[in-house]
């Protein structure tokens, strides 16, 4: 393509938009509305996911081992592991894909943690009456998961070990978090698909109207010897420009709203920020901006190319 033709195509793309300005505006507004909803939805979902992931990081499974009867208050019959075997089991657990971290807690540490939790910093004074460690023999592993939906599989595997006496876990927390994740994913996909379909339909209509408005000009071009590409490209570009403008507008709005909302929450509801970690605007826009622009231009291209092929017989 010659440079002059490229400029002509770009100019005609803009001319089409201005010549058909009300329909173009309607299309830009609708795509902007769709992508605004998408952007808001994405921002909320990303933050929610981040909060859920933080919550997931706190979900852990605790593994206790069998111990000797006279050493261990919570004794049950089973295979008592050696210290080496406990270490081996720790390595086996850490090697599993669903496990993000494994922390060993000895019976001494467990007793100290318990006392610290119960009596605070002066636990030594309060627990003087305890001459022996009541948790003796209760060595354990605290296992953190990278994906809570795989918790039950991990628990089943841990319970199948002859040395394991007990596995503490919260099935309800894992199921709730895992369910919330799935729900978010399905709802997101559903809404995005509907919004995309509406946008493609609108761009297609706008381009079809543009073709109808310029049918005389297209006819003349055809008689003079314009190639298919030359006739069609301004309409395809028109669709892409509408998509681009429809994407840029909500990005600009969301950027402002998001920043404002973060500042507002930090100032007015600082208590929320202590346990809810909101994502910084750059982190959200690092994905949202390219995705929105590509989606905007992409649906513009798709909507116009379909219409041009259907209505523009050169």
């Amino acid at each position: 393509m010659k440079i002059s033709t490229l400029f002509y195509t770009i100019r005609q793309g803009f001319v089409n938009i201005f010549r058909n300005k009300w329909y173009s505006l309607a299309s830009i507004a609708t795509i902007a509305a769709c992508l605004f909803l998408f952007g808001l939805f994405y921002s909320v979902v990303m933050n929610f996911r981040s909060i859920v992931m933080k919550a997931e990081e706190g979900v852990s499974v605790t593994v206790f081992f069998h111990c000797e009867k006279d050493m261990c208050e919570s004794h049950t019959e089973g295979q008592i592991p050696s210290d080496i075997r406990i270490e081996e089991i720790g390595q086996l657990i850490a090697g599993r894909t669903e496990v993000s971290d494994v922390k060993f807690t000895s019976d001494e540490e467990a007793w100290e943690n318990f006392r610290r939790e119960k009596w605070g910093e002066n636990y030594e004074a309060y627990s003087k009456g305890y001459l022996e460690n009541p948790l003796e023999g209760d060595d354990s592993y605290e296992v953190f998961l990278s994906d809570v939906s795989l918790q039950s599989a991990l628990v089943t595997w841990l319970e199948s070990m002859p040395e394991v006496r007990k596995v503490n876990h919260s099935a309800l927390t894992a199921d709730t978090l895992s369910g919330a994740n799935m729900l978010i994913a399905y709802v997101s996909i559903g809404i995005i698909v509907i919004l995309l379909a509406v946008s493609i339909f609108l761009i297609s209509n706008t381009v079809a109207i543009g073709i109808a408005v310029r049918s005389e000009e297209i006819n003349i071009m055809k008689y003079i010897g314009a190639t298919d590409f030359f006739v069609r490209s301004p309409f395809v570009l028109e669709g892409m420009l509408i998509g681009l403008m429809g994407a840029a507008l909500p990005l600009w709005l969301i950027y402002g709203i998001y920043n404002y909302a973060l500042t507002y929450i930090a100032e007015r509801f600082s208590i929320l920020t202590s346990f809810l970690n909101f994502l910084p605007v750059n982190e959200v826009f690092g994905v949202l901006m390219p995705v929105s622009l590509i989606v905007g231009v992409g649906i513009g291209f798709l909507g116009s190319i379909v219409t041009v092929r259907k209505h523009l017989h050169v």
Binding site: S4, R19, I220, Y223, G225, A226
Partner: protein, 247 residues
Amino acid sequence: MGKKELSWRKREQFIEDNGIIYLDNVSKVYSKGAPAINGITLGIGKGEFVFIVGDSGSGKSTLIRLLLRELTATDGSVYVMGRDLAKLKHRQVPKFRRNLGVVFQDFRLLNDRNVYENVAFAQRIIEVPGKDIRRNVPTILATVGLAGKYKAKTRQLSGGEQQRVALARALVNKPSILLADEPTGNLDPKNSWEIMTLLDEINQSGTTVVVVTHNREIVNAMHKRVVTMKRGIIISDEEGGEYIDED
């Protein structure tokens, strides 16, 4: 001499003998009704000026559309400048059309643009460089007598002037053939004569001109070749002929 070369030579000879346009036993039948063109054979030589006359429904417009490769013949072959139009691929049609200039009764100008832009448009869409456009358009506007009106919007022009713009647009790409479909149909007698004189001048410079018209007075006065059509067939073809009154 190879087979290919022999075939090429035969075709060249054929064009030399039969002219720039040759319709060989051509029929065109639309999906409904009787044939619009029924087995016509017509040759037009390079540099000829030919009137195609006949009543509405005689097949004149179908003939023009066949020559433009807007339609393809149901039967027979249409050759324009040595090319069998039925064998032309879709993507080759635009380049083929650049050899033809077309003028219509209703001018078909772009009313949102001025005279210069209307003519430049024809060059722009075949990707002529900008500096050539700036040189060619004023020249062709001077040829059709509109040099002083290049900035005028087409709506501000008279019918005759609008047809001159259409002619300038058809000629700016230097076509070998000019097809004019009722070019004086919307014009008064004075403007009709001016346009016909212009077409004659264009023909004198070597362009083949084919004019479809109902204008009896002009046809009879210009003493050119007249092809008369009726119900899809050619009923007369005379050099220096007259408009035959079918009634």
